[in-house]
Amino acid sequence: MQLPQNDFLIEELICNDSFQEYCLGTSVEKHLLWEDWINNLPERASDIENAKKIVNILTAKQGSRLQQFKDLKNGFKQKETLSLLLDGDTSEKTLYQTSRIFYNYISFAAAAVIILFSIYFIPDSYLPFKKTQSGKDLSASVFFSGAALRKTVILTDGTVITLNKNSEVRLIKNFNPAKRELWLKGEAFFEVKHDASHPFTVHTSINDIKVLGTSFNVKACVESPVVETSLIQGSVQVKSKIYPGYTVLLKPGQKLLYNNTNTQKGPDFKKIFIVSSLELAHADHKPKEIQWLRNQMIIDNEPLALIAEKLQKWYGIEIYIADNEVKDYRYSGTFENESIIKTLEALQIAYPFEFKATQNRITISK
């Protein structure tokens, strides 16, 4: 198999059998061979990216078999972990034995939800425990980001939450993979495990958001008199608390704007719950609603130790590297992911390492 010359035409690359197979992830050997070739041609990086894009369109996003196979294996590990969690009361929960343990909620229906809600409604409807449950339930875990720009928390069901500044989530008492409910104040991005039999619910003062899919972003600004729910992928159901029985099912690329500033006698739902399309930023065609979260990280032959430091700072979660050998693994590339887990998974493809995530710490090892 011959790799193209450095002065290849983009069309030639697209038509190259072996390049197509690389894009489809048919073998580890091809993957390494082409990654190496690509890394040595930084000046043609955008051309190669273009070629990949076309191949991706024409192969109908059949995906990378290598990546999917990895997901399958992690799906098995996830099942084992979950059955352990459900069987015994293990206090220290290790949710990511390796990478995508929660494979089927990332891939099946990633959802991004952004909620902005009004301060006027908070006093009476936030803190639902107070009204409905006994005093000891108030001991539910609370995570607050404070002045930190972002804070990442990993829940016992494998859900990854990245909180924006001054944001808070409060878990239901005994939150577990079979009982998944929490209350949000502020803004956060969620990657939720898709589990049809155990819905994941995010409560806000105004709406309850039932996640039918998997990964979603929740943003909530207390000063604003509106609620905004934006969906990137997957499916979420937004239930109004103020108008019981009124629900909106969002489709990917849509957002729901809740605006109850002009309250009249008979509620006009069309004016209070406005569904529209997400705004895409011009630069990268990514929804503006999750710009706060996206971190473009350009890495040029840097060791993992340094990359981990950057990630720790950006996502606000402690990263500990257990093996010195791993610290020296060097990576190059551009990463832009919604969560630290996704970024680590992307890094794993080039040089494999393992990682485990507990509530507020990620441990990387050989």
């Binding site: 069309e11 109908a60 229906a109």
Partner: protein, 183 residues
């Protein structure tokens, strides 16, 4: 060994508890199942997720499985059922579900429907439509064989009774047209 025989062998080993045989089956049939799923519903995430779900379920119930003559069709049926369930779960009134239920496999999506349906960006959708309209039927057919069905140029040449060189050139010219419009 023929691929179908190998699949059957993997199946038997898998029933006896060999997880690697399950993985072998996965690697053998992955692209086939993905293509089959995309023809039912052009949502690649849904299809990929269901493919993995099918294999996870297979492992769970391995001890209760019977020998199967045609492993591929067995898995295709499982995939179809999984996709139906997922779609029904997402939206019980989803039209696609009704359509899938009623029409069975008759109304499978064409390659053109699939690749356009997969694009989220309206602009790219339109460009793709324009680009495909500019290709000759032969060019588009070869694009499908090359990229979607994953055939090699040699296999394409054989199937369409032309030389490997002609097959390559046809694909190359088509790519040139596509690139110009999609740029």
């Amino acid at each position: 060994m023929l691929p179908t025989e190998q699949d059957r062998k993997y199946w038997e080993q898998m029933r006896l508890g060999d997880k690697n045989a399950l993985f072998g089956l996965y690697n053998n049939l992955y692209f086939h199942l993905i293509r089959f799923g995309l023809k039912i519903n052009s949502d690649d995430e849904l299809v990929k997720d269901c493919v993995n779900q099918v294999f996870l379920n297979l492992w769970d119930k391995r001890t209760r499985l019977n020998p199967v003559e045609n492993v591929k069709s067995y898995l295709m049926t499982s995939l179809r059922r999984c996709m139906l369930d997922q779609l029904a779960y997402i939206d019980r009134t989803n039209l696609a579900v009704n359509k899938m239920g009623n029409d069975e496999a008759k109304n499978e999506l064409s390659y053109e429907d699939i690749i356009i349906g997969l694009q989220q960006d309206e602009e790219i959708k339109n460009k793709l439509r324009i680009a495909i309209a500019q290709l000759t039927p032969r060019q588009f057919e070869l694009i499908q064989l090359k990229f979607f069905e994953g055939l090699s140029y040699e296999q394409i040449a054989e199937r369409t009774s032309q030389t490997v060189k002609t097959a390559y050139n046809t694909v190359y010219d088509a790519i040139k047209v596509l690139r110009k419009i999609l740029k």
